[in-house]
Symmetry: C2
DNA sequence: TGGTACATGTAACATGTTACATGATTAG
DNA sequence: CTAATCATGTAACATGTTACATGTACCA
């Protein structure tokens, strides 16, 4: 008997959507918001991609569009085939991370920039990281104080974010003055 | 008098190639090797991309192909237009970094995986990071011991790599046992 | 009843990845 | 002279980004 053609392997973005759909049907919009909250620090996706992947997965039967709610909201639900595909994806050995950090290119080619300009760029990015750390710390507190014992998996990913941002800030602080500027920390006016 | 159409803005990959070409003409092959040494930790590019960008930049006059050397080696040299385009690119405010870390997806969705499987995956990635840290530390020593005073810009980017890998390893170490496994560190047989 | 935020989607394009095809040079 | 390594390139495809087009629901 011919076995049915196995679904083609998922990409990480599609798989993440399926992961979120385990918790119940969600619309494209909701999925973007969920991804923002849950994986934004270490995986990025855009609205366009979400709709595209959802349409593709609906075509291959990994998800099913439910009846449209108000305002063209169309919830998608994961199917048994979708669960199976997600399971196969999750069982694979994950690839190594890729980091694309344009600031480090600017610094690496820093000899071609006036010192003051480089310092300004670096200072601005230091602030971005300080803000991110503050957000992560807030989320961390919330998670720990939130009555229910925190999900250890989500806690672990959040803690990676904390470790990363703390490391980034110490690195900024240890940069030589010629790169870092004099680091006078101006708070919001 | 009509001013000549300004060159279209560069992407970071093309700009990096121009950055390396400031030090003298290089072939596509050499550029891949140089990028590997100098920016691999925070920017990735493939051979295919390098040849594509080089061809495109040659077409717009940002680089010029020199006479082919032995074995079809074709060195590319940066042109004045190329230097100008690089300068304009470098002066822009760099975008925020993007991190794509599949392991964190696996952990975030860890509830859907058997604990032993997740532990094995995590252990394997811990080793990858330990090896990377060792490589960075070695490069750092080399840079500091290498007679000539180190280029502070390259030192700074390398030190980001060190900070990142150290943070990653502490994070691995602090993971709860159920995720981390019992962390018996097996050296190479 | 008008403006703002919500919501969905398409199109065009840029970038990144993988596989394939081809051949030259060099060491042994 | 032959195998391994160096080197260049193309093609096909997957993924990611940006801009545009359209319209709904809610709130003041």
């Amino acid at each position: 008997m011919p076995s049915p053609a196995p679904d083609p392997p998922l990409n990480a973005t599609a798989a993440s959507l399926l992961g979120f759909l385990h918790e119940g049907p969600l619309t494209g919009w909701d999925l973007v918001a969920t991804a923002q909250r849950r994986i934004a620090g270490f995986w990025s996706l855009t609205r366009s991609q979400v709709y595209r992947e959802l349409a593709a997965m609906a075509a291959t039967g990994l998800v099913e569009a439910g009846p449209p709610g108000p305002r063209e909201r169309r919830p998608y639900a994961i199917t048994p085939r979708g669960r199976a595909a997600f399971g196969r994806w999750l069982d694979q050995d994950p690839a190594e991370e890729t980091i694309r950090f344009p600031l480090l290119l600017s610094i690496g080619f820093g000899r071609h920039l006036p010192a003051a300009r480089l310092e300004a760029i670096v200072a601005r990015h230091r602030e971005i990281h300080a803000e991110r750390l503050a957000r992560y710390e807030h989320a961390h507190t919330q998670m720990r104080e939130g009555g229910a014992p925190p999900d250890p998996y989500r806690l672990a990913t959040l803690e990676f974010g904390l470790a990363y941002e703390r490391a980034a800030l110490s690195w900024f602080a240890a940069l030589p003055k010629a790169i870092r500027g004099d680091q006078s920390v101006r708070g919001p006016s």
